[in-house]
């Protein structure tokens, strides 16, 4: 009886979830097995051809390229985000709240505009080059745009708040008495961090990584604007296939591949957090 009462409250959410996530997902999967006619209209005829094309060596390299970008984005945001989250959690409450508000502030501005901000900063006639030229440190602009690394800067910048907040939640929950116990037993600060703090915040790290990795696979406008279209990621490919290619079934097959990639990462995350009794999905 008790569980029933608790579950009743979940019904509106489940309906919402089913309508807005479940149905589109089923649609994408079904679509990926369909064919299309010469005008690009979807034809309801079962085929595995789309998946055959996905497993083409060139397209598999596109998967690998996206995977690499998302993985690097995850690691760099972790490297920068962990200290930031840790220091934030040590602040007094007022400053801490201010810091968290500041992390969230960029979300108030359109992500497209913020990406253009990087163009203004890094371009050949951008702020950095102009200042360096004016100071006569360089005599011609340093080309900083349209590289893989420029895209990486963009995705790291765009997604780092997710990492910081996930780790912050984890660090904040840490039982301070454990740290005191560690100091009392003669461990140094560094040793305490690596032996106590880090292992206990692994769920936060894994959560942040998942939150960063997943969108990094699909942010195609960043590679268009900052990467100058010099390489190709899954998001670009799917976008082209839907919009200009009029090949929605093939785009759906690529999307299913992308979903499987994300599922893999989330299942790893689930495994890491299973025994710790905390995580995003509990």
């Amino acid at each position: 009886m008790k569980t029933l009462k608790r579950n009743v409250l979940a019904i509106p959410f489940l309906i919402w979830f089913g309508l807005l996530v479940g149905i589109p997902l089923v649609y994408v999967v079904v679509l990926s097995f369909m064919s299309r006619d010469h005008l690009g209209n979807v034809v309801f005829r079962f085929t595995l051809e789309n998946y055959q094309k996905v497993f083409d060596p060139i397209y598999l390299r596109v998967f690998a390229n996206s995977f690499l970008l998302a993985l690097l984005t995850g690691f760099i945001t972790l490297l920068i985000g962990y200290p930031v989250a840790y220091i934030t959690s040590q602040l007094e409450p007022k400053k801490r709240n201010l810091a968290i508000a500041l992390f969230m502030l960029p979300f108030w501005i359109s992500s497209l505009l913020r990406t253009y901000g990087w163009v203004i900063l890094l371009g050949n006639t951008g702020l950095i080059n102009n200042v360096l030229l004016a100071l006569k440190i360089i005599d011609k602009p340093i080309p900083m745009m349209y590289k893989f690394s420029t895209t990486l800067i963009g995705t790291v910048y765009m997604l780092i708040p997710f990492m910081i907040v996930a780790i912050y939640n984890s660090v904040d929950k840490l039982d301070r008495s454990l740290l005191e116990a560690s100091y009392d037993l003669g461990a140094s600060k560094v040793k305490t961090f690596f032996k106590i703090v880090l292992p206990l915040t692994i769920p936060g790290i894994a959560g942040g990584f998942t939150l960063v990795f997943t969108p990094a696979l699909g942010l195609y406008f960043i590679s268009d604007l900052l990467g100058g279209g010099q390489t190709i990621f899954l998001g670009n490919l799917i976008n082209t296939l839907v919009n200009r290619g009029r090949n929605r079934p093939l785009a759906a097959a690529f999307s299913v591949g992308m979903i499987l990639l994300v599922t893999l990462v989330i299942s790893i995350y689930g495994r890491i957090t299973k025994d710790k009794g905390e995580g995003l999905f509990q």
Binding site: H38, L39, G40, N41, K53, D56, I58, Y59, R61, V62, N65, G123, N124, T125, P143, M145, Y146, D224, G228, G229, Q230, T231, I232, L237, T240, L241, V242, N243, R244, G245, R246, N247, L250
Partner: protein, 354 residues
């Protein structure tokens, strides 16, 4: 106290809701047309206002970002849209899908103003479903001084883009059909070639171009020439016009091998709810003075022959806008994209991964 606040908030919500409801109902009673096309003043606000003022017909303008979006919207709700402006190939798709109204020319006396050169094309051989509205082409925009400074030969054709001096100096529209089309033309072939031997020749040639490309950009390629990161770009005519306006050292080069043309056309939904108003609108914008004004604001080539005397001097003297006959004669459409797209997209992906 708390209860009061909630009550006030509730009242505000109801009041706002009622206001919105009343406004929606009011606009329903009015004569209107619903059109959709590209945003960014593609159909200038000023022209629409003038139309509403003269006829009392309200124009609901839905902005979209691609031909394919328009297709989806039209297929989902054919009875909600009257007019749309789509690119040539999409006219062909929509008419084959049976979504277009066969236009009643007796209601469009001003159609006589349209230049026959831009009519009867592959997408509508008998001029049944479409009226050309805006013409654009793609060609090279070049900074000759910067090209010379790099030690490269002057650029007159696509072939010149392969000069090793132009390393990291070219900006291109980011679209497989367009770029492989450029390579095919440079080899003396036609667009959308399907012959595997010619295609593989083009593929090799395309790969050799990679090092010279600094950026692929479809929306604002002219910026790269204005800020100096590129010295030559392959782009749409309206972008080249903007680029030259920002930096008068930039010059258009119409490659001798030929270049693409695109015609954006008006089409009417078969199930359009306000057909008479829509005819009135189409007839209105085909008046010579109005067409000239539209051309000047949008910086697209107008298919309206009668508009020529009303075009401003600088527009008429600009070969990028007022296409000279020999330039117009050297253009071709991308026909049969569906036959080559998958192959080209695959080649293009491999090219990008290099």
């Amino acid at each position: 106290m708390k209860g009061n606040k909630i009550l006030i908030a509730l009242l505000i919500v109801i009041a706002v809701g009622a206001l919105i409801y009343v406004n929606i109902n009011r606009s329903e009673g009015q004569e209107a047309i619903n059109l959709m096309t590209w945003g960014g003043d593609f159909i200038p606000r000023e022209i629409i206002d003038q139309f509403t003022e003269e006829t009392g017909i309200k124009v609901n303008y839905k902005e979209v970002t691609s031909n394919e979006d328009m297709q989806s919207l039209l297929e989902a709700n054919p009875d909600q849209y009257d007019l749309a402006v789509v690119t040539d190939y999409m006219v062909d798709i929509l008419r084959q899908n049976g979504l277009l109204e066969n236009l009643d020319k007796s209601k469009l006396p001003n159609i006589k103003n349209i230049n026959p050169v831009y009519q009867g094309n592959y997408y509508d051989e008998n001029n049944e479903y479409s009226i050309p509205y805006a013409i654009s082409t793609s060609f090279l925009l070049v900074n000759p001084e910067a090209v010379a400074a790099l030690g490269a030969q002057p650029i007159t054709s696509y072939k010149d883009l392969w000069q090793s001096e132009l390393k990291n100096s070219i900006v291109l529209i980011d679209w497989s059909v367009e770029i492989i089309g450029l390579v095919l033309k440079s080899l003396g072939y036609e667009y959308n070639e399907t012959d595997p031997v010619k295609v593989s020749e083009a593929k090799e040639r395309l790969f050799a171009l990679k090092d010279n490309i600094v950026r692929f950009e479809t929306n604002t390629p002219e910026d790269s020439l204005v800020n100096g990161e590129a010295v030559v770009g392959f782009m749409y005519s309206n972008q080249a016009v903007k680029g030259q306006a920002a930096n008068n050292k930039l010059q258009p080069v119409f490659p001798e091998e030929g270049y693409p043309i695109y015609i954006d056309c008006w089409i009417m939904s078969k199930e359009a709810p306000n057909k008479d108003n829509a005819y009135q609108f189409l007839n209105f914008i085909m008046q010579p003075e109005i067409a000239a004004k539209i051309a000047d604001i949008t910086k697209f080539t107008t298919p309206n022959k009668a508009a020529e005397p009303y075009l401003p001097e600088d527009y008429r003297n600009n070969p990028m806008l007022n296409l000279p006959d020999e330039v117009a004669a050297n253009t071709s459409f991308y026909i049969g994209v569906e036959n080559v797209l998958e192959e080209y997209e695959h080649i293009y992906s491999e090219f990008k991964l290099r």
